[in-house]
């Protein structure tokens, strides 16, 4: 149970980070935090129910997250090269 509380706290911190940070790097970091909170929750459930399924899913998530980090960081670097900034409030060309 306590593991779930930790997971929830971790998720909340991540969400707060996504909403409050203005640089892309930090937003990205916060997203990773939320992702790992989810991983933690999965592990906790796996332990509770004694099932390996959730642990397998967690392994998948970690693998995909690694790939995603590579792509995400690559995008941020590319954006910085073009626009000289990673401030997400300046990157608002897509709007109605």
């Amino acid at each position: 149970m306590s593991w779930l509380v930790v997971s929830a706290l971790l998720f909340a911190i991540g969400a707060y980070g996504v909403l409050s940070r203005r640089t892309a790097i930090l937003v990205f970091l916060s997203i990773e935090l939320m992702l790992n909170a989810a991983n933690l929750a999965l592990i906790a459930f796996a332990k509770q129910w004694g099932s390996l399924d959730a642990q397998v899913v967690t392994l998948f998530v970690i693998a995909i997250a690694a790939a995603e980090v590579a792509v995400g960081l690559g995008l941020i670097v590319a954006i910085f090269r073009r626009r000289e900034t990673t401030g997400i409030d300046e990157l608002r060309g897509l709007k109605g």
Binding site: V18, I88, R92, K95, G96
Partner: protein, 619 residues
């Protein structure tokens, strides 16, 4: 009755003339188109008479339209009309060869003339209402083309258009009347309808009388339009814009009597419907009075005659309304003679004066036109009902039958007869007597124009003797001959004394009025009329403002509403476009949510997720 292909040939002959003259007439030398056209009409006449002498004929094509045959029938009634249309038509064709001499549209004129004869014969011979309607509209077209014959003049075009449109109002009645009959009887063939409605000359039992009356009334509306009865009379005087032979043929002798013919042809509908017949009598009476009153003030030689036509058509409708169908046809016949004669003498006068139509610039033609003066005199006297002339006999028969129907009708019609005698004398006096008031050099018409008039003069003098009243101990040919095919109620003959009284009264009135008119209107020629009469003439000249009233009450409002609607219809489109732009605006409002701030989206995501989870937990 024989089944023969020769019957449609009666129609095809003039139709052929229309096509040939229309396509190649321009390449012919001047009198040729006229001769071709006249010969073809004469051919129709001869063919018609021959077939009639053999006891009539019929011809048909089943299912021309689903359930509606294309059928023609030549019986005594249509035979009489064929003789009038083709016979008098032939005379007028011959006359027109002289009258239209030198006109640039000579061949076009005869082409249209033949078209008219063909259409009129379709109307007359048709044994199925839609076929009659084909002719009905066909004569309307020919009339339209001929009134607007000299189309370069705007007035002529306007008159032609007016005639066509006003006629169409009546035509709508005809169409709807056919709709009623079709819905109730499932057939539009006249002979089948007659079998269904009045077998054995008696009204069949178990008929839907309301529907029958409606059908009869609607067909009557059609007749009102074609025969220029009140309230659809406004087109006929304007129709005088056409060349004079047109007025003689179409707007006096034949086409305008089509309405009367329609009533007689379908008498099985009307003979036992007193309500509808009452309306026919009423409309006929009003028209007779109105036409007579209008004739007093006209200054155009042809318009005087035109209004007299209106009035005489009223006589015929009264006859049909009181159930004396054969008398209506009798008057159609005598009227065809003397009215064609009057128009063509007017035409000869106009011709003599180089196109002048104003009676105020005429007078004294008695001294210049030795033949036309006789034609004019006989025509006017026959119209005025001088005893023993054709007009007297038919008008007297109408008066006798109206007396039986109601003495009130008789009295009104007697007054109209007196007025008829008065204005026919006015016409004669102003044109032929006194001193010549113009500056032309009048000359008598060529013989190609006078000979047809000679024939018509004979007709006007003697045609009445085929239908003498029974009190004269001589055979009445017409009545039994027509009544063989017309459904009607047998009527009680008036006592001999009463009949004689009526004859003498109407003779006395006619003679008196003719004489009085002869005296009175010499004053007009001299410009010494009583003041009240001059005021009356002013109103009469403008037809008692009928045109002005119609224009103000109907034509103008319709036109302005058309303009308003036209703009409003653009509004319909704008309305649809507005609907489109509303959608666009709504989309624009939604698009504002796309701010471009990542954190705004993220917050939205979060809030939505929390809400969804909450909903899930609470449920």
């Amino acid at each position: 009755m024989q089944e023969t292909i020769l019957l449609p040939l009666i129609i095809l002959l003039p139709l052929l003339g229309f096509a040939v003259l229309g396509l190649w007439g321009k390449r012919m030398q001047e009198p040729t188109p006229g001769i071709v056209a006249s010969a073809l009409v004469l051919g129709s006449f001869v063919l018609g008479v021959v077939l009639l002498a053999q006891g009539g004929a019929r011809w048909g094509l089943e299912d021309w339209l689903p359930g509606i045959p294309l059928s023609f029938a030549l019986d005594n009634l249509s035979g009489l009309m064929v003789m009038i249309v083709a016979g008098i038509g032939f005379l007028i064709h011959v006359y027109a060869i002289g009258y239209m001499h030198g006109d640039a549209g000579f061949s076009r004129f005869f082409s249209y003339f033949n078209l008219f004869i063909a259409a009129m014969l379709v109307l007359v011979l048709g044994d199925s209402l839609p076929v009659v309607f084909v002719g009905w509209e066909g004569v309307g077209l020919a009339s339209y083309l001929l009134i607007g014959f000299w189309y370069a003049d705007r007035v002529n075009g306007d008159s032609a258009r007016k005639a066509f449109i006003v006629n169409r109002i009546g035509d709508l009645g005809f169409l709807l009347g056919m709709g009623v009959l079709w819905a109730n009887f499932g057939t539009l063939s006249i002979s089948e309808l007659r079998e269904a409605i009045a077998p054995e000359g008696e009204l069949a039992v178990g008929l839907n009388n309301a529907a029958l009356a409606l059908a009869a009334f609607l067909l009557f509306v059609g007749a009102i339009g074609k025969s220029a009865q009140v309230p659809l009379m406004v087109w006929l005087p304007d129709a005088m814009a056409g060349p004079t032979p047109v007025s003689a043929l179409i707007h006096a002798a034949t086409m305008v009597t089509a309405g009367v013919y329609l009533l007689c042809r379908n008498s099985f509908l009307y003979f036992d419907l007193p309500d509808v017949s009452f309306w026919i009598v009423l409309i006929g009476m009003i028209t007779a009075v109105y036409g007579a009153l209008c004739a007093f003030g006209q200054t155009d030689i042809k318009r005087i005659v035109a209004y007299s036509t209106l009035s005489q058509l009223g006589f015929m409708f009264v006859a049909a309304g009181v159930g004396a169908y054969w008398v209506a046809m009798f008057h159609v016949m005598t009227h065809a003679f003397f009215k064609a004669l009057l128009f063509m003498s007017s035409g000869s006068v106009i011709h003599a004066l180089g196109g002048e139509q104003d009676v105020r610039k005429m007078g004294g033609m008695w001294n210049y036109l030795p033949q036309t003066r006789i034609h004019g005199l006989v025509g006017a006297l026959a119209l005025g009902g001088l005893p023993l002339l054709s007009g007297f006999w038919s008008k007297d028969a109408i008066l006798a039958y109206s007396y039986e129907y109601s003495p009130v009708v008789w009295f009104v019609m007697l007054l109209v007869a007196a007025m008829t005698a008065l204005y026919s004398m006015r016409w004669f006096v102003l044109v032929f007597l006194g001193k010549y008031r113009g500056h032309e050099h009048p000359h008598e018409s060529p013989s190609v124009m006078t000979w047809p008039n000679h024939v018509l003069t004979l007709g006007s003098l003697f045609a009445g003797f085929v239908g003498l009243p029974y009190v004269i101990q001589y055979k009445n040919f017409l009545e039994p001959w027509l009544n063989k095919v017309i459904v009607h109620h047998e009527h009680e003959k008036l006592p001999v004394l009463e009949e004689w009284t009526l004859i003498l009264v109407s003779a006395a009135v006619a003679v008196g009025a003719l004489y009085y008119g002869y005296r009175f209107f010499q004053a007009e020629a001299a410009g010494r009329l009583p003041a009240w009469f001059v005021r009356f003439q002013e109103a009469s000249l403008r037809s008692f403002y009928a045109d002005d009233v119609y224009n103000a009450l109907i034509v103008k409002p319709l036109k302005s509403v058309a303009k308003i609607l036209f703009d409003a219809d653009n509004g319909v489109l704008t309305g649809f476009q507005w609907l489109g732009s509303v959608t666009g605006t709504l989309g624009g409002l939604l698009a504002r949510l796309e701010t471009g701030y990542l954190r705004f989206y993220a917050a939205g995501l979060l809030v939505a997720a929390v809400l969804l989870i909450l909903v899930g937990v609470i449920r």
